[in-house]
Subunit: 157 residues, 2 copies
Amino acid sequence: MTTLPGMADEDLLRLDQQICFSLNAASRAFGGVYRVLLKDLGLTYPQYLVMLVLWEDGDLPVKRIGERLRLDSGTLSPLLKRLEAAGLVRRERSPEDERSVTVRLTAEGSALRGRAGQVPRRLLTATGLPVEDLAALRALLDRVTGALDSAVVDPAP
Amino acid sequence: MTTLPGMADEDLLRLDQQICFSLNAASRAFGGVYRVLLKDLGLTYPQYLVMLVLWEDGDLPVKRIGERLRLDSGTLSPLLKRLEAAGLVRRERSPEDERSVTVRLTAEGSALRGRAGQVPRRLLTATGLPVEDLAALRALLDRVTGALDSAVVDPAP
DNA sequence: CGCAATTCAATTGCGCACAACTCAATGGCG
DNA sequence: CGCCATTGAGTTGTGCGCAATTGAATTGCG
């Protein structure tokens, strides 16, 4: 079984503590830096992620954006409304499937990409890691995410 | 300067995209697994982090908990109220400094530690990574967090 | 064809994260 | 001593994340 022999629950509690602390802290530290960098673009971090997807892929239905970012409509609907209110995107019901809503960049939304050009470089230097280490970090994170997503965890032991 | 020569803004945008996607996804994937594991303890993930700190250190003022978890009173005050409502902690004004509030585990709160004993092991196995890889991941994350925290990022280029 | 199951977006409700602010207690300094 | 800056919690407001639900459009199956 999965008993990791030779480690007491005590020790695991401590290790667990460190790992979830570290991931949490890192996630929020990233958020903090992005918040500063994105301030004069008028974007929040999650909004920036949506714009990245749209800049990369062009117009997309809400569903696709959700798949790319691992977000559901409960998060995306109000977020996209705010982006629309800011004049960066428009939302239109798809003619061939009235259930689907296509998100389109406005001219202003597309133009914002130019002003965002400096953001990644400034973030990468802020991390203090060489690009190779960041790639390694990303690989590890993706492996963990994949495992966690496919791990069917039954609630009760 | 910090120009990372030889990389175009285009490429950096893409790399940035991948890194922030990965970190975000990993963070939320962890949250999802913890949510399931903690469900029958009646704890959310952030509440679990607070309990871990209290189990480790004993009674603490709100201030100290915030330092340990990188959280401010705006987050902790309502969270601790919910833990108190659940009967896991009590909050008392410190006699020697009336501004400070000490958070104390109740008997029920201490007892919960036993029931939480299985959580870390089950999480570790869910990650699908050997312990050494997780340690490496944690080290990388801590390095990045340290760098990001100390990086004074001026809002406007 | 017609009805049931599925899909997609939106909404509601709850909890967390963070900025900005209030308010009381404390400490320092003239 | 008296005043003022600082400190510690709490509150408010905004936005994200997710579960659960709704409602309309579409698909599938008898």
